[in-house]
Amino acid sequence: MAHFDVEVRVMPRASLLDPQGQAVEHALEALGFRGVTTVRVGRALSLHLELEDGDPAAAEAQVRRMCEHVLANPVTEDFSIAVREAT
């Protein structure tokens, strides 16, 4: 049994207006932080995966299917996956 720690990042697609990101950007500016542009707000998920197959590529493929199937909405979101072998 191989164990993996997985981090998934789901972000609004670049072409989509992100008013939440804009609101955060304005707040940062109001607080005096200069030079901040293009704030985007997304979601992070972490999960632990146990697989027979110890190949990280197999783990990533499974998580990719999870993202395509439920964790992200392909109309509005992009995702990225980071797989780490758990000790």
Binding site: P12, L16, L17, P19, Q20, A23, V70, L71, N73, V75, T76
Partner: protein
């Protein structure tokens, strides 16, 4: 006419929807999301609310409930399906309608009447309206902004599948001020406004009752006037 109102944990417009359907003369009843049996429904309505607390994304988890398999079959066979607000979100997540509903552009939850125009009257839920009718109906949503890839939006417009459009103002930033759409077969319709909340003289608005009455008339015609 048998009308199933689907309930998820977190649906909260189910009672109003049931009432509005019964007021139009339907034999309306609830179907719990865990059941794959629509009990010979002639029509299905997915009501508003916060199914599964909108966890992950509005409608993202509800779309995997057992009942959706039956709803999909019903839709495939040409049966009328109406998604109201959260129901619209569920239908988009389930792929029964194109596009998605995201957070309102001004980030606030909007709960107030708006004006919409009926643009497609070739659906079971709008066939009783005159095309171009403008009426007042409440919205109540934080995620009502309709978005879709440009080619999908263009196709919706070109094929007359924008069913309702906001007029006078676009409350949530929906692309092309879309308030409701139909699937290719036109039997599946989703709308963000709440017709069930404006279907009674007591509530001060009655035009929305036509959404349910259109359905009644349409299905009466199919059944040759028998029920």
């Amino acid at each position: 006419m048998r009308l199933a109102v689907i309930r998820f944990p977190g649906s909260n417009c189910d009672a109003d929807t049931l009432r509005a359907a019964r007021a139009a003369g339907a034999t309306a009843y609830y179907v719990w999301h865990r059941s794959a049996d629509l009990q010979h429904a002639d029509a299905v309505v997915i009501p508003g609310g916060f199914a599964y607390g909108d966890y992950l994304r509005a409608g993202a988890i509800a779309r995997f409930s057992p009942v959706l398999g039956a709803v999909r079959e019903h839709a495939r066979a040409g049966g009328p399906v109406l998604g109201i607000c959260n129901g619209f979100q569920v239908l988009c997540e389930a792929g029964l309608l194109p596009g998605a509903l995201v957070r309102n552009v001004n980030l606030t939850f909007l709960s107030r009447p708006v004006r919409v125009r009926v643009e497609a009257v070739d659906t079971p839920f709008t066939s009783g309206f005159r095309p171009g009718t403008i009426f007042r109906v409440p919205i109540a949503h934080g995620q009502g902004r309709y978005v879709a890839p440009p080619e999908v939006l263009a196709e919706l417009e070109a094929t007359g599948r924008v069913v309702l459009r906001y007029v006078g103002e676009n409350p949530n930033g929906s692309m092309n001020a879309v308030a409701g759409i139909a699937a290719e077969g036109r039997n599946v319709v989703g709308m963000m406004p709440h017709p069930e909340r404006a279907a009674s003289v007591l509530l001060g608005e009655t035009t929305s009752a036509l959404v349910f009455e259109s359905l009644m008339r349409r299905l009466e015609v199919f059944e040759g006037g028998t029920r």
